[in-house]
Amino acid sequence: MGQQLLSILLLAPLAAIVVSLLSRRASSAEYATVTAAIIDLLVSIPLLLRTLSGSLILAHGYVLLDPFGAWVILCISIVYALSSVYAVGYMRLLNEEERLPVFYALFSGFALTMQLACVMNNAGVFWIAIELTTLVSTFLVGFEREAESTEAAWKYIVVVSGGISLALLGTVLFYWGSSFVLGPSYAMTWAALRQSAPQVYPPLLLVSFLLVLVGYGTKAGLAPMHTWLPDAHSESPAPVSAMLSGALLNASMLGIARFLGVVTGTSVSRFAHAAVVGLGIFSFVIAVLFIVRQTGIKRLMAYSSIEHIGVQALGLGFGGPLGMAGTLYHMLNHSLNKSLMFYGAGNAMRADRSKEIRNIRHVLKVFPVSGILWLLGAVGIAGAPPFALFLSEFTVLRAGIGGGYLWVVIVFAIFLIIVFIGFLSHFRTMYFDEAPEGEIVPLPWTAWRTLPMWLAILPLLVFGLWWPHGLWNIFHQVFLSVMGGGQ
């Protein structure tokens, strides 16, 4: 059953790629992508439920279907579904109709490579899958072919390839370290690495982990390796920004979490967790400082992504079932909320023809309905109740207190307040300040652009008021399967 579901999950975007490239017509590419994305979303839920009754190992041990991978796949599928619907409404505004089939092929390819990465059982093959996501998404970042977007694409591929090569070095060193225990030739599965890790020479294990952390941390956008992220997220088309932020960052966090699970329970576990906490809080603080004085609307959202990836890293580093639950819940909520924010930003940018916050004014007059949704999303992403991010951030805070990281928790709490004020003050100016000179042309209304915003805000509200008990169960299963239950 699990195998069939997984095949459907991966074949749907593959079919969308083929249809998009063969038909060469924008409309059929749109329909193929939306259909594939909805199929993926529908399949990913039973897939997650299937993994709860035990992980599956398929394809001669190369594919591992576990609750963690299935959870991240669910987050990716949600963003893929929402963004492909939004893309139908948004990409037509760019007047690039003849290149749209290629866009949708790349878009589905991006989703496919990320989903593949989540089910890889071999650390080396996982690295390759993550590298593939970079290659595919580079061309999505540079899709608009302006000087800025080309520059962003170049910086993206150079910085991320350089960073990710550190992860490859770390992976090779992990393999070398474990080869003293498991013999010179073995399959580098997560389970094999975790089983042999306690007997590996500790300094070697630590160096390997730090290299992997920096490598996948570059891809996840943890500061100080985040420099590519604001450029890539702000210069790509809005649906792509949502995918980069809501899906790709989660897939890279999955790599960090799996390697953290490998070293958990060894003598370097404490230091490894502290390193993840350190990067997390540093990213959080840096991002908040840039948010406060940001001038570009999409760069604001990009720095907010760094902030939230920092929160996820904090949850992972704090450790324990609570930290893991906070991280996973935050992944889901951030995927929903950040997609909503990028959609709103895309709308505003197109209507006001500017990427600058100072040129975006009177959003409520231009977008009476989606303007309200965007504002609610902003309140949510700033971490205010009753939206879901409040609950997950609060859980991470509790995990920090329980894990004995009191000072980090204090800094985290202070900067949570700063980001609330800083983020929403930008929205106050955009909604209620006087307009500068210049005509604002409202976009023609289409359900394609508004529907995904509704679909994102409603679950956020529900999850903010009610944390389903079944989710706890899932999070605990993930904790047991990734961290081995120990601290």
Binding site: G124, I128, E148, T150, L204
Partner: protein, 226 residues
């Protein structure tokens, strides 16, 4: 472990091939001419292929011969050819603005190698006859990593940056041939193909850079800040 009982002849063959590759990295670091970079890179790839073949011969991992052939073919011929095409199309023959003089970057490079040696010395606990080969392999792996990052940060031209990234990968590949010759064949082959795609993507991007940004020097890519 294969490394635990190698004799001095094998040790010196591996060491000299590894050291020669490191020297070629210094050639890349010290030169201004883009063509020289590409030649040095090709030479380095051939040395790595020779290393794979010799490790395969002495250790009995027959699949390393296949990797040696593929390395020579892809890294030694196809990639340099692709890079030469990019260089030819760009009409840029040499690196004009570099942050550092070649001489000072060579000095920094030497310091970096010493730093890599210190780390490598801490990471290895093998104290048998092969200890020096292991430490040498780790040192060269790490120092090519650092040198690649050094080139990435002091060079502006797009082609130099691609080459710096390839040096990063060469370092890993070289070290892994000595340290983990038993690594599954599939992964190594996929990584080789992956490199090919990487360079193809870079080639397309360079073309976009020329057309849309009007420059291939990263110094002028300064629109996005803050």
């Amino acid at each position: 472990m294969f490394l635990a009982h190698i004799n001095s002849l094998q040790a010196s063959i591996f060491s000299s091939l590894a050291i020669l590759s490191l020297l070629l990295t210094f050639v890349m670091l010290g030169s201004h001419w883009l063509k020289n970079y590409v030649y040095a890179f090709a030479g380095q790839s051939w040395l790595i292929a020779a290393l794979s073949a010799s490790v395969g011969y002495f250790s009995g991992y027959k699949e390393l011969y296949a990797i040696a052939v593929l390395t020579a073919l892809f890294r030694g011929l196809v990639l340099p050819w692709l890079l030469m095409r990019i260089v030819g199309r760009l009409n840029v023959k040499r690196e004009i603005h570099s942050v550092l003089q070649s001489s000072s970057s060579l000095v920094i490079g030497a310091c970096v190698v010493m730093f890599a040696f210190v780390i490598a010395n801490h990471m290895s606990r093998q104290r048998q006859g092969a200890a020096h080969v292991v430490i040498l392999a780790l040192t060269i792996m790490l120092s090519m990593k650092f040198l690649g990052f050094l080139m990435l940060s002091v060079r502006d031209e797009a082609v130099s940056q691609i080459l710096a990234l390839l040096v990063l990968e060469n370092g890993i590949f070289l070290g892994s041939q000595i340290l983990v010759p038993g690594m599954p064949l599939l992964i190594e082959i996929v990584i080789l193909f992956d490199l090919l795609i990487v360079v193809a993507c870079f080639g397309m991007l360079v073309r976009f850079l020329v057309v849309h940004a009007g420059t291939t020097s990263s110094r002028e890519l300064n629109r996005l800040v803050g």
